[in-house]
């Protein structure tokens, strides 16, 4: 049977659900209401309000990615050294939340962080002052880290388990101490996992509007919220598409950088 024939359903899928929407984004992004070509929708990013939202998005995504990396690496390292039956259970514990709707999980955080929420009730029980976390950038970072942590753990875990234990032994054998072994062997050999993890956390964090809407309140606008509002509230598809294209540039830069570093293709999505 012709192999090209087998790929036909996917080609249809890709055309209808990937190429056409992408083409529409480009079409709307580069035209105005009269249908004439314009770059205004793209250059609109330079307006102070949009720039502020973009800068905040990039900043919060960067911080969240960094925090995810700091939490995920030691965890993935411990996981990769576990043996036997316990390992499956612990890995399942980290993957399990991914099976639940992220909207639902973010709503749960809303309940916990609210002014009269679970956290503050517990604090008042302990006679501690309440914490104002909801509707701050901290709440958004918390939501991002919580939602995207598994996407950082898994590629790092994968790359760590692929390291031949003999290579680590060889480094010790050649006189390296524990710190040198980590810095010169384990860290570089897990680099591809780190790069994949960064991509898989940074990209969804940069584009999210659900987390910022639910945990950031209406005052904190990320670029994702701005684009969403252009589509749903202002009904200005032209501006929404133009801003989306700007965001795409950031995502493409991120992916190109990962593709350069991630030569092993550790769960790469490029």
């Amino acid at each position: 049977m012709n192999k090209k024939l087998l790929s036909f359903p996917y080609a249809v899928w890709a055309f209808v659900f990937i190429l056409i929407p992408l083409g529409m984004i480009f079409f709307y992004g580069l035209t105005d209401k009269t249908g004439a070509f314009t770059l205004e929708n793209v250059t609109a990013i330079s307006s102070p309000g949009h720039l502020k939202a973009l800068a905040l998005s990039v900043g919060l995504s960067f911080l969240s990615t960094l925090l995810c990396l700091l939490f995920a690496y030691p965890l993935a390292y411990i996981l990769s050294h576990l043996k036997g039956g316990g390992m499956g259970i612990i890995i399942a514990l980290f993957i399990l939340p991914m099976w639940m709707n992220s909207l639902l999980r973010t709503l749960a955080w809303q309940t916990i962080l609210e002014k009269t929420g679970v956290l503050n009730s517990l604090l008042s029980l302990a006679h501690l002052p309440p914490l104002q976390i909801i509707n701050t950038p901290y709440a958004i970072i918390l939501g991002m880290v919580y939602n995207f942590l598994p996407f950082m753990i898994l590629p790092i875990y994968n790359s760590l388990t692929k390291i031949d234990p003999n290579v680590v032994s060889a480094a010790y054998d050649l006189g390296a101490d524990t710190f040198q072994v980590f810095l010169r062997v384990i860290l570089p050999l897990s680099g591809s996992g780190i790069i994949s993890g960064i991509t898989m956390v940074f990209v969804p964090a940069l584009t999210t509007f659900v987390i910022s809407t639910l945990l950031g309140g209406s005052k904190i606008l990320l670029i994702g919220n701005v684009i969403e509002q252009e589509f749903t509230q202002a009904n200005n598809w032209y501006l929404g598409s133009g801003l989306s294209m700007v965001l795409m540039v950031f995502i493409i830069i991120n992916m190109v950088v990962s593709a350069i570093f991630d030569r092993d293709g550790e769960g790469s999505i490029v």
Binding site: D164, A170, Y172, L174, A176
Partner: protein, 364 residues
């Protein structure tokens, strides 16, 4: 004789409930090529890992150059390991791999560069400095692994089945190369393998191990010609191993026929193991007219002939035992033959004094 460099003293090691080494004692001299030989699971690799510092023995001591190093971590030991499947750093090029040990010891760049040049020259891979390990063949990777170890000027090089992943021709080339390297470097090699031919080719001393015990220590010639028990005889080369009865000094009964031998002191009418190497069995055809007419002694029938290049390998059924015989003369299948063995080539061994013996006799 060179002075003693390493002593493994009464080493025991178990993984969980599984004992791997039991009260193992071994002396290794300076500039010696020692091979730990045995089937998988015999404890040879564990012994090497204890030497390298990757395992700590449950009991016993490792003495190196007069100092107790039993609990010294691997990075503090004056020995280097060449690992099975090379274990090269895939993120570093050849030069960086070789320089690894020197860099962590903070040697200066000029020294490191001279060492890289020296080592690449020694293993015949000059000009490979900036190749990545993945782009090298198995044999080349093995040479880099050796180069990476020797630039640290270890007193002992530990090699864990380093040729196991190479094809036959390359393996034979590397055997000669390892011998050359050892002679050039003038250091001690401790080599682990399950390949008896490799062991016989390269070693000064062979340590035959089985189930955590040393079975025999000796030169390749000793091990081959004078195996101390049936296990060693069976493991090293092909052998005919039979139950025999030591009738009296210089006389042993094999398969109901008495043979002259040279051994003495095994008692009278005592059950023993008898080992005869296939190349030591002589066949005389009884089919040809005018050939040795006497039908006395052990006679049998050729059941199988395989041409092996240098010699023929034949199976001869005689008194219920299938003999393996190597000979440059071919006897066709179904030839009736008389089996003779020179007394000097009959190796008599005491039966092991364990429950194994009973198990064997019940099986029969």
């Amino acid at each position: 004789m060179e002075k003693e460099l390493i002593t493994l003293s009464h080493i025991s090691k178990a993984f969980g409930a599984q004992p791997v080494l039991d009260d193992l004692t071994l002396h290794i001299r300076e500039n010696e090529f020692v091979t730990l030989l045995g089937p998988s699971g015999c404890g040879k690799t564990t012994t090497l890992r204890i030497l390298g510092g990757f395992e700590t023995p449950d009991a016993g001591q490792v003495i190196f150059d007069g100092k107790d190093i039993t609990n010294l971590p691997p990075n503090k030991r004056q020995l280097n390991t060449v690992f099975q499947k090379y274990a090269l750093f895939t993120h570093l090029d050849v030069a960086e791999n070789i320089a690894f040990g020197l860099k962590v010891k903070k040697k200066d760049n000029a020294y490191i560069q001279s060492k890289i040049d020296y080592a690449l020259n020694l293993v015949g891979l000059k000009g490979f400095e900036h190749r990545m390990p993945d782009s090298l063949s198995g044999g080349q990777q093995q040479r880099i692994a050796i180069a990476r170890a020797i630039v640290n000027e270890p007193k002992v090089l530990l090699l864990d089945e380093p040729l196991g992943a190479l094809d036959l021709k390359l393996r034979q080339d590397m055997q000669y190369e390892l011998i050359r390297l050892k002679n050039e470097l003038g250091i001690t090699f401790v080599y682990v393998t399950h390949d008896q031919e490799e062991a016989l080719t390269m070693s000064d001393t062979i340590v035959v191990m089985n189930q955590g015990y040393i079975q025999q220590i000796g030169t390749p010639e000793d091990i081959y010609n004078e195996p101390v028990n049936a296990f060693v005889a069976d493991f090293i080369g092909d052998s005919n191993i039979m139950d025999g009865i030591f009738v009296q000094d210089k006389l042993v009964e094999i398969l109901g026929v008495k043979f002259n031998c040279v051994d003495m002191g095994f008692g009278k009418n005592k059950p023993v193991d008898v080992v005869i190497r296939p190349e030591d069995v002589e066949l005389i055809s009884l089919d040809k007219e005018g050939s040795a007419s006497s039908e006395e002694g052990l006679t049998g029938v050729v059941t199988d002939v395989i041409f092996k290049g240098v010699h023929y390998e034949m199976c001869v059924m005689a008194n219920g035992f299938e003999w393996i015989v190597h000979s440059t003369t071919m006897f066709p299948v179904d030839t009736k033959v008389k089996i003779t063995v020179h007394p000097y080539n009959i190796q008599i061994m005491n039966k092991p004094e364990s429950e194994d013996e009973e198990a064997v006799s019940i099986d029969e």
